[in-house]
């Protein structure tokens, strides 16, 4: 497997970004759930601070990922896919990319509108995305929560599709995004 993508396989960088972001998103869901349930106190502040820092990390990785995608060939979908399946795959992938940006950005807007500045892991204080504004905070909180639900739905479709390709269609769509695997033809 190469560093760069090939027309048939995702390279090391694309795979690493994909799986790193997967792990971070799982962490985000856990952190958000813990923080929401905590009573007001330093622990709650701390867990939200982690959630915000990880969110900014995902945003940065999403930028890298998109740049890398543009600078590399994108492995082609199997030729056996029907047109509507291609369309569905494209829409799902577009939705995932969109959420990789929209979730961190609405989160950042939410905390700025609330008047709570963000420090990235305590190393770097970020500029306030928007001025303090209670109405905007309410709107962004609503949006952030709704997009989280949208993310669950799209991730479910994405995973279901990957498993369908692997176990039912028995092609290498999943395998080519997995490290430590070989293509059937290799």
């Amino acid at each position: 497997m190469s560093i760069r993508n090939t027309p048939t396989r995702w390279g090391h960088i694309a795979q690493s970004l994909h799986w790193l972001i997967v792990i971070l998103i799982i962490i985000q869901v856990i952190l958000a759930t813990i923080a929401d349930d905590l009573p007001i106190g330093p622990k709650k502040i701390e867990v939200y601070a982690w959630h915000k820092s990880v969110g900014i990390t995902i945003l940065s990785l999403a930028v890298l990922r998109l740049l890398w995608r543009w600078a590399n060939p994108t492995p082609e979908l199997p030729s056996t896919l029907k047109p509507y399946e291609r369309m569905l795959a494209k829409v799902t992938h577009f939705g995932l990319y969109l959420l990789l940006f929209a979730q961190p950005l609405t989160g950042w807007m939410m905390t700025s509108a609330r008047g709570f500045p963000v420090s990235w892991f305590g190393f770097l204080q970020l500029p306030d995305f928007v001025p303090k504004n209670q109405a905007l905070y309410n709107a962004m909180k609503e949006t952030h929560d709704t997009l989280a639900l949208a993310l669950y739905v799209i991730v479910f479709l994405h995973v279901a599709a990957a498993l369908k390709h692997h176990f039912f269609l028995k092609d290498d769509v999943l395998r080519r995004m997995l490290p430590f695997t070989k293509r059937k033809s290799e």
Binding site: P42, E46, G115, F116, Q125, L126
Partner: protein, 187 residues
């Protein structure tokens, strides 16, 4: 006639005495012009710098000759305002400022000395029922009544932070208090 002369003379004498007193007596008592003053603080929360202010407080400054001699500040703790109602309500609870029990913070100077840049008010600061000796540096301009300065306090010195709030990794111990006050001379 004699009566009139003596009345005029005594009036003049009184006027002269008053004038003389006015010229020497730079002794003055200044009070706060709240509308033109700010009393703010900065603290770290989750690694980021956050700001707040007080909206109700009283300040008096006595000036003897041309030097400030006594500074007294009373802050209504219920007027703390960090721009977030939930946070403000939390700050007023028993584990933090315990505002219901300790509604006021109070600084009163015991001595004011001149420094290279202005003045240093040494005195007693009481917050949340705990009194400590502090130095409050400031500059004062009698001409326009502006009193400016900054002092850094440690919240835990005053017990502001009980239980979980004793931890300083998320809410810092240091609080920088900045005062830009406009005082007006009374008498």
């Amino acid at each position: 006639m004699r009566l009139l002369v003596s009345s005029v003379v005594s009036l003049l004498a009184a006027a002269l005495a008053a004038g003389a007193a006015g010229a020497v007596a730079a002794d003055a008592h200044y009070t706060l012009d709240a509308a033109k003053s700010t009393l703010e603080y900065q603290f770290t929360q989750a690694g980021a710098l956050n700001k707040g202010k007080f909206t109700k407080y009283a300040v008096t400054l006595d000036v003897a000759g041309d030097a400030p001699s006594k500074l007294d500040v009373v802050i209504e703790m219920g007027s703390l305002d960090t721009g977030d109602k939930e946070r403000d309500d939390t700050l007023k609870t028993a584990d933090l400022f315990s505002v219901a029990k300790f509604p006021q913070s109070h600084f009163t100077s015991t001595q004011i000395t001149r420094t290279a840049n202005g003045y240093d008010a040494v005195g007693k600061l009481t917050i949340r029922g705990v009194t400590r000796d502090v130095h409050v540096p400031f500059t004062f301009s009698p001409a326009n009544g502006s009193l400016l300065g900054q002092v850094t306090l440690r919240r835990l010195d005053y017990g502001v932070g009980q239980g979980d709030w004793k931890a300083t990794d998320q809410v810092g111990n240091d609080v920088a208090v900045t005062y830009a006050l406009h005082l007006v001379a009374g008498h």
